[in-house]
């Protein structure tokens, strides 16, 4: 059995990256490197108002004074920021008004990715904002949504058409001084999605963005801003892929969510960036700052993530629970296979009264992968009667991988309750034996156990994503025995 299971481990941990194709599309590049001129170039290219250019320059000047953070449990050679192309856009011919005008190459790229921008999606009821190499290609369903007063468009469009909203909320959750990669993003972000749900509106469909890094040597710096006004509701999905390349590519995104009184935002991510090959060459460096603020009372923000890709993941979707009775949730499955490294977790800042947060994190390590959960739960003095429950489990497949847990728990009042639990173990031989005894082969048994292990999180994903996420998990992990 030992040798058979080893074979299975080999088969699955050596599974090739399925999304590694390059699309031949004419791309408009900025010169390599980073300086104030590049930022002015990006800003001019996007025909931005002055306040945004000033925001970018302020961020850039601040970024220059910062040092790259070294505290995370990840190791990588130093990033040369002068060797990166900070702006790459599919060459624009003219303004696109219908799907037929979109480059057919681009459309087939999205088809390969399994997202179609056409009628099929209408049936599925999903509005997609697809971002390829930093520029949003086409937003579907905008018209349907605009009838409800919902604004869902690319960030650049939002800058053009809703500068006041952008000005009001940009940097209000993640200020440009926040951290090294957030500052960098603030200076050079090229596009992303913008979403505004007006008062009392329940967004009838799931909104979705697809990110894809296509050109070589480029970084993707997208910026997403979601604002749910009083009593609004939105469920948002984000997916990511990148083609296979030998060099490492940088992805430093910022996502900001604002939930006003009684609003609810659900944010789901399936991240499947290219993880590098079996020897750990290439892959995406994913340094992402995601943060939501529950500004008003009774608001709710929920993060769900399935992290299977990237050679490095550095990501802590967080909630600031400012309003009374607000709720923060974090559900995560993170996989580190081959030479992948993941340092991910969340921060729950309890500031308002009766605030509640739940953290469920499931880490899976295989091959030479290293997976760390890093989380902070802080109950401030004024957050009376607050409640947190955290559970972070790690599953180890193979003896060369690592699983680490860094929970920080700070409690500053007497009426709150904070609970934290964690376990680390391999797949139990008893469970395997039980399945095998009943005629289920090793491979399927492991698939069953891993999926069962992650079920709690997968259940939180919107339908469209749950299927994809389960498939991804099976591809990267099924069939491993410690």
């Amino acid at each position: 059995m030992e040798s058979e299971s080893n074979k299975i481990i080999d088969a699955f941990t050596h599974d090739d990256y399925k999304y590694g194709f390059v699309t031949e599309i004419e791309t408009d590049f900025a010169p390599k490197g980073l300086n104030e001129d590049i930022i002015r170039f990006i800003s001019a290219k996007k025909e931005e108002p002055t306040f945004l250019l000033e925001f970018r320059l302020k961020a850039y000047r601040y970024w220059l004074t910062m040092k790259e953070p070294k505290w995370a449990n990840i190791h990588y050679p130093e990033i040369n920021f002068q060797d990166i192309i900070f702006y790459a856009a599919p060459k624009k011919k003219k303004t696109i008004s219908s799907l037929d005008e979109i480059d057919p190459e681009l459309l087939s790229t999205f088809k390969k990715l399994g997202i179609s921008l056409n009628e099929q999606k209408k049936l599925a009821g999903v509005a997609v904002d697809a971002v390829m190499d930093s520029v949003s290609v086409k937003t579907t369903f905008s018209d349907t949504l605009s009838k409800l007063g919902i604004i869902f468009c690319s960030f650049s469009e939002a800058v053009q058409h809703h500068p006041d909203l952008v000005k009001q909320y940009l940097g209000s959750v993640v200020p440009y001084t926040d951290n090294y990669f957030a500052s960098l993003n603030s200076a050079v972000f090229t596009d992303g999605s913008f979403c505004y749900i007006p008062k009392g509106v329940r967004c009838p469909i799931e909104l979705s963005t697809y990110f894809r890094i296509n050109a070589a040597n480029t970084g993707q710096f997208e910026r997403t801003l979601i604002v749910a006004d009083e009593g609004a509701y939105v469920s948002y999905m984000e997916g990511c892929t990148a083609p296979q390349r030998d060099e490492n590519q940088l992805h430093a995104a910022v996502v900001e969510i604002v939930a006003m009184k009684d609003a609810e935002v659900k944010y789901a991510t399936v991240q499947n960036w290219y993880p590098g090959n079996k020897e750990g060459v290439g892959g995406i460096y994913n340094f992402v700052t995601k943060r939501g603020i529950c500004k008003g009372n009774n608001s709710k923000i929920s993060w769900t993530q399935v992290e299977t890709g990237s050679s490095i993941t550095w990501k802590y979707p967080s909630c600031i629970l400012l309003g009374d009775n607000s709720v923060g949730e974090f559900y995560s499955v993170a996989v580190a296979n081959n030479y992948q490294q993941a340092d991910t977790g969340t921060k729950m800042q309890h500031l308002g009264k009766n605030t509640k947060s739940t953290i469920i994190s499931k880490g899976i390590s295989a091959g030479h992968g290293n997976n760390s959960y890093r989380g902070l739960v802080r109950i401030s003095k004024n957050a009376v009667n607050s409640r947190n429950y955290s559970q972070c489990d790690s599953l180890l497949l193979g003896d060369k991988c690592g699983a680490h847990t860094f929970p920080y728990i700070q409690v500053e009042n007497k009426s709150s309750i904070v609970e934290h639990e964690a376990t680390t173990s391999k797949i139990s031989e008893d469970q395997l034996f039980y399945c095998q005894q009943r005629g289920i082969d090793t491979e399927s048994a492991i698939g069953l156990i891993v999926n069962g292990y992650a079920k709690e999180v997968l259940n939180k994903l919107p339908m469209e994503f749950a299927v994809e996420a389960q498939k991804l998990l099976s591809i990267s992990l099924e069939g491993s025995v410690g």
Partner: protein, 472 residues
């Protein structure tokens, strides 16, 4: 040689300590073997590189020594004169027969001889004397476990180490009596002291060790203690650390436990009082099959601060570690728990648990808990749990419903919470005494005793509450 400076009285600083070391080289090195001199030189070099820890270091994030270090302290390079040792140390725990050894301001106090050799081969006494008398034992064990390269305070202690307690239990010997170390801080002025202890248990040996840190008067003290413990193959150490210091004192207590094949360590850290307390507990499994069981209880109030740092290094397979720390925090007290379990690549079949539970009684009390797991082996079972909250209102209601006053109900629940740690103490008289102290502490009656805490005159009865338990 320059005239020896016996006492300084100034703010303890990084440069100040290096200066003091350089000025007193002659005195510090006077009896050193080559091995010891080498250790001191490495250590002072490391200290000058690392300095005193600051909250910028991850390990010291929540404990700031700034206030403690900004006081003026005297530093004594000679033992304090003892007028009547019998008067200072006549501590006893009723019905607990211990061999008592005492330290005053970190220096070993000898009643008769500095180093006793008991009939069964156990050697007990002053480390300074052991440096001279047993250089080969010292060379084999001293300075091997306390790693100066990562910790400035351990480096500082190693550079200045002059005296402390030395215990040697030979192979196959079980100490019939518990050994009790009492370290009293008593000085007319504020004092900075650095006791250094070395405890060695040979193969198949057994020892119970009660280690008390007490302050005598209300002067501020800063103690930077380092204790190295070697537990040989299949040996067993039952270790108790009791801390009851005044609110102006600072205690950094670093203990480095090294466990050989199938060695077992059982340790209790009980903290009643103290200004700023930091316990660095480091356990290294140096061979397979070791077992470490470390429990802690801290009952803090006023502005007291306690920080328990437990690092367990599973360097070898088939070892088991268990940590459980519980605390009750009242008024403005703050507590830190930082557990770190490292399971190295080949440490398969490791079984490890970390637990931390806290009760906050006020909105001004604070807890920082960081149970940290770092795992590189796959066939392991590791878990941790941390919970912070208040007394269960349902349990309170249950008691109140049965006519128990709020104060008594609260006391009973707090006592039950604390007792989970205390009731695992295997030596009955000691457990009774600690149970009694917990009860007194919770009722606010336990003060910093005029003398050693273990000296108070309470009956050695199991604790009883003034409530009718039959009502329950």
């Amino acid at each position: 040689m320059k005239e020896m400076q016996t006492d300084i009285n100034e703010i303890i600083s990084h440069e100040g300590m290096i200066g003091l070391f350089e000025e007193n080289r002659g005195h510090l090195f006077q009896h050193d073997t080559e091995y010891l001199s080498r250790l001191r030189n490495t250590a002072i070099a490391k200290f000058s590189e690392l300095g005193f820890p600051t909250p910028k270091l991850e390990e010291w994030k929540n404990t700031d020594l700034k206030a403690s270090l900004s006081k003026k302290y005297g530093y004594s390079l000679k033992p304090s004169p003892v007028k009547d040792p019998r008067k200072v140390f006549h501590c006893n725990i009723p019905h607990l027969d211990t061999a008592l050894i005492a330290q005053l301001n970190g220096w070993y106090i000898s009643k008769d001889v500095p180093l006793m050799e008991l009939g069964n081969g156990i050697i007990l006494g002053s480390l300074a004397e052991a440096f001279l008398k047993y250089p080969s034992i010292i060379e084999k064990y001293y300075g091997h476990f306390a790693d100066v390269s990562s910790d400035g305070l351990t480096a500082l202690n190693t550079a200045f180490a002059q005296d402390g307690i030395f215990i040697y239990v030979p192979d196959h010997v079980s100490s019939p009596k518990a050994i009790q170390i009492v370290n009293v801080i008593h000085h007319p002025e504020n004092i900075f002291l650095q006791p250094r202890n070395l405890i060695i248990l040979g193969k198949n040996s057994k020892l119970s060790l009660v280690h008390c840190d007490d302050s005598y008067n209300h002067q501020a003290g800063f103690a930077n203690t380092v204790t190295e413990v070697f537990i040989g193959e299949n040996a067993h150490l039952d270790h108790f650390k009791l801390q009851n210091l005044n609110n102006d004192s600072t205690l950094i207590s670093s203990a480095w436990f090294n466990l050989e094949k199938e060695a077992t360590l059982k340790s209790h850290y009980i903290t009643f009082n103290g200004g700023l307390l930091r316990n660095n507990i480091r356990v290294l499994f140096n061979a397979r099959g070791g077992n470490a069981d470390i429990r802690g209880l801290y009952l803090m109030d006023r502005k007291q601060h306690v920080d328990n740092h437990v690092f367990v290094d599973h360097a070898q397979p088939e070892c088991t570690s268990y940590e459980h720390f519980k605390g009750i925090l009242d008024e403005n007290a703050s507590a830190v728990f930082n557990g770190h379990v490292l399971v190295r690549k080949n440490a398969q079949k490791t079984n490890s648990y970390q637990g931390n539970k806290n009760i906050l009684l006020t909105d001004t009390a604070k807890v920082n808990s960081k149970p940290f797991l770092e795992i590189y082996a796959d066939d392991v079972k590791c878990s941790h749990g941390s919970a912070t909250g208040q007394l269960d209102p349902e349990a309170m209601f249950y008691l109140r419903q049965r006519g128990i006053s709020e104060e008594n109900a609260r006391m009973l629940l707090l006592y039950a919470f604390a007792n989970e740690v205390v009731n695992t103490i295997g030596i009955d008289p000691l457990r009774y005494r600690i149970e009694d102290m917990v009860k007194k502490r919770l009722q606010g009656e336990l003060q910093i005793c005029e003398q050693c805490v273990l000296h108070c005159n309470t009956p050695e009865q199991p604790v009883e509450f003034d409530i009718d338990l039959s009502k329950l």
